[in-house]
């Protein structure tokens, strides 16, 4: 071997140099990388923002059916632009269902048919999807099943409104469309929102979202807080420009041409204002009793980790009784609870040990500065304590891995769209309405193994699923029950099991980071 006359001092110097570079790299990563990880970039509002916990929490009004009969209830909704005062002193233009944000809440019973007639008076085509609904494909709000506004010239077959693809199977209607929901499913809180091809994210951002409850006898049999002790909370982040209008980095703000957002926001659009039921950081007066919170994260990309903290610093447990698709078998107690876009939780919170006058902050541990707050509860009078049931529902499906007809690996990751632009892909492919990605047989049980590169809240239409595992370990404590959306963290994977029953037809599964969804991260699920 050649002479290696290296002085000890030099060797030491080289070793120290490499060590310093390695340590420096890790230190740089520790300082620069987002800890905890966050997928998306935050817009900064240009108006003075209101003080937290000063605006009362609005409760969305419950819609009245225009007709009710043996064959169900019929509702009419108008999709219309309106103005509302979200930030005090500013009128903000919104796209709404029936002029309110959130839209009117629909209350329904399991198995009782609901028809919602939607009339589109907005300047762009729309599509309504009932998230979590067990809905026939014709009413599931497929992204190209457009409802065109009056006078809209183009048709689906001829590049409707700048959409990147044509779809011969699309069922396009003019101005008005009846959506039919059999609602043969467990009691839970669903939500309806716009689902138009390429423009879902900005449409939801502008206000097209509302709640839809399903009730059943299993829920009725339980002694749970009711009436004004059951509070729906739609959490959504937004940002406002200098005029008090909603800021959103669309490439085409008319939402008719080029889809997508400006480059810094490709991973997701985050706002710096946290709205609950459309009000910034609201406060809600409660008594010192037990409350049921029906929480939805209707944000496009923001994840929250919720915790309830009294002004004494004491943390109140959040007792989970339900997931996306209804009640759990038994309550699960959480100190903190992560919630990804489109996920729902059914929670009980007990204020009974708190003195009147206490304020309880619903905080977001993933937030910084103002986004660390969500809302507050103000205990203003004495209430009656109520026990938390020890068992809840016994009607959860129990699927066994051994029954799975198919096991699929499905990867959600960044990549290039067909036009070379940055996008988000499922198994390496951007969404194409004309390609069937997964064919499932009606009645088959399947195991899907989902793998993510960054945060991807993965949502399946039509069915609920159970979470079998995360990575190499079991499910998390918040994974209990029946889900329709599962939040994957960067590098994380999970196994889910479901049975495809209900209806045949063309459905979707997709990432519910709404920006990812618009930029390719959807795939067709054909139930045959």
């Amino acid at each position: 071997m050649a002479d290696l006359n290296v002085s000890r001092r030099r060797l030491f110097g080289i070793g120290a140099g490499i060590g310093a570079v390695a340590a420096g790299g890790i230190a740089l990563s520790a300082a620069w990388a987002r800890r905890p990880a966050e997928t998306g970039d935050q817009l900064v509002s240009e108006v003075p923002l209101p003080q937290a916990f000063s605006i009362p929490l609005p409760i969305p009004a419950v819609a009245e059916p225009v007709s009710s009969g043996d064959d169900g209830d019929r509702y009419e909704m108008v999709q219309i632009e309106t103005e509302a005062e979200i930030i005090p002193g500013y009128q903000t233009r919104l796209w709404t269902y029936n002029g309110t944000f959130p839209g009117p809440t629909i209350e329904s019973r399991r198995g009782r048919h609901v028809t919602v007639s939607h009339r589109n008076e907005l300047p762009v085509p729309t599509v309504v999807h009932l998230h979590g609904g067990r809905t026939p494909a014709s009413s599931d709000g497929y992204p190209t099943d457009l409802v065109l506004p009056e006078g809209w010239a183009e048709t689906a077959a001829h590049g409707h409104g700048g959409h990147s693809m044509t779809d011969d199977l699309a069922v396009v209607t003019n101005v008005q469309r009846d959506y039919g929901f059999p609602l043969d499913q467990r009691a839970t809180m669903l939500w309806y929102h716009d689902h138009r091809m390429d423009f879902t994210a900005p449409a939801i951002w502008r206000g097209l979202a509302g709640l839809h409850f399903v009730r059943d006898e299993v829920e009725d049999a339980l002694d749970l807080p009711r009436g004004d002790r059951e509070i729906p909370l739609m959490i959504a982040d937004r940002a406002f420009d200098a005029d008090g209008q909603l800021a959103y980095p669309s490439l085409d703000p008319t939402l008719t041409g080029e889809m997508g957002v400006e480059e810094p926001y490709l991973a997701g659009v985050l706002g710096d204002v946290v709205l609950v039921n459309g009000a910034p950081w609201p406060v809600h007066e409660v008594d010192s009793g037990l409350y049921r919170l029906r929480i939805l994260n209707a944000s496009n990309a923001r994840h929250y980790e919720l915790e309830a903290v009294a002004d004494s610093g004491e943390r109140l447990p959040l007792t989970q009784i339900g997931a996306d698709q209804g009640l759990l078998e038994a309550p699960v107690r959480h100190d903190t609870l992560p919630i990804a876009p489109a996920e729902r939780y059914d929670l009980l919170i007990d204020f009974s040990r708190l003195p009147v006058g206490t304020k309880v902050r619903l905080a977001n541990r993933l937030g910084t500065d103002r986004t660390a707050d969500v809302m507050a509860f103000h205990v203003v009078r004495a209430g009656e304590a109520m026990p938390i049931p020890e068992t809840l529902a016994d009607d959860l499906p129990s699927w066994d891995r051994a029954d799975a007809a198919v096991t699929r690996d499905i990867a959600f990751r960044a990549g290039r769209m067909d036009d070379g632009r940055h996008g988000w892909l499922i198994d390496g492919l951007p969404f194409d309405p004309n390609r069937t990605d997964v064919t499932a047989r009606l009645g088959d049980t399947e195991v899907w193994r989902l793998i993510a590169d960054v945060h991807h809240p993965v949502h399946l239409h039509l069915v609920g699923f159970r979470i079998l595992s995360r990575g190499n370990a079991g499910p998390h404590s918040h994974d209990a029950g029946l889900k329709d959306t599962i939040a994957l963290r960067p590098g994380e994977s999970a196994e889910i099991i479901t049975r495809f029953d209900g209806y045949r037809g063309r459905y979707l599964f997709h990432c519910h980071n709404a920006e990812h969804e618009d930029m390719g991260m959807m795939a067709n699920l054909e139930v045959v």
Binding site: M1, N5, S7, R8, A30, D409, A411, R489, G491
Partner: protein
């Protein structure tokens, strides 16, 4: 100035205790070589996993478990080398790699990618350098009175 020189050329291999690598040295070299091979397989498994093959994660975990065992074995062999060969640096280097591996393991299990990725690259570099150094020069058993500085 004192130098560390390659002594392979001092005498033909296999002659005399001052030249031939001791048994403990060979155990250490083999452990380091296995550590190197396993180390380079880990990013392969990670890539397979992130490309969408769920089984890649199980392989990545199996690799991590195997590497943990090898790194402990390597530290054991390095202790023997310290005693028999009177060289301390392989022990400290192996210990550092083992501790780095523990941190890497938990960073991975915790999903702390900000640490897992740069630390993984650092560990690969460290394993490479240490393995090369171990194989570059013989690790002969020292007789009494031989140099102990190494």
């Amino acid at each position: 100035m004192e130098t560390l020189e390659a002594v392979d050329t001092a005498a033909p291999p296999g002659r005399g205790p001052g030249v031939r690598t001791a048994v403990s040295g060979w155990v250490l070299r083999v452990a380091a070589a296995l550590f190197l091979i396993g180390g380079y397989l880990q990013p392969v498994f990670a890539g397979v996993y992130l490309s969408g093959d769920f089984d890649g994660l199980a392989m990545h975990l199996m690799g991590a478990d195997t590497l943990s065992v090898i790194s402990i074995a390597q530290v054991g062999a390095a202790v023997a080398v310290w005693i028999r060969v009177r060289r301390a640096w392989p022990f400290w280097a192996s210990l550092a790699l083992m501790l780095g591996g523990v941190a890497q393991y938990f960073a991975g299990m915790d999903g702390a990618l900000w640490l897992h990725l740069p630390l993984g690259v650092t560990l690969i570099a460290g394993i490479t350098v240490v393995t090369a150094a171990l194989w570059m020069r013989p690790l002969p058993r020292r007789v009494k009175g031989a140099r102990t500085d190494g």
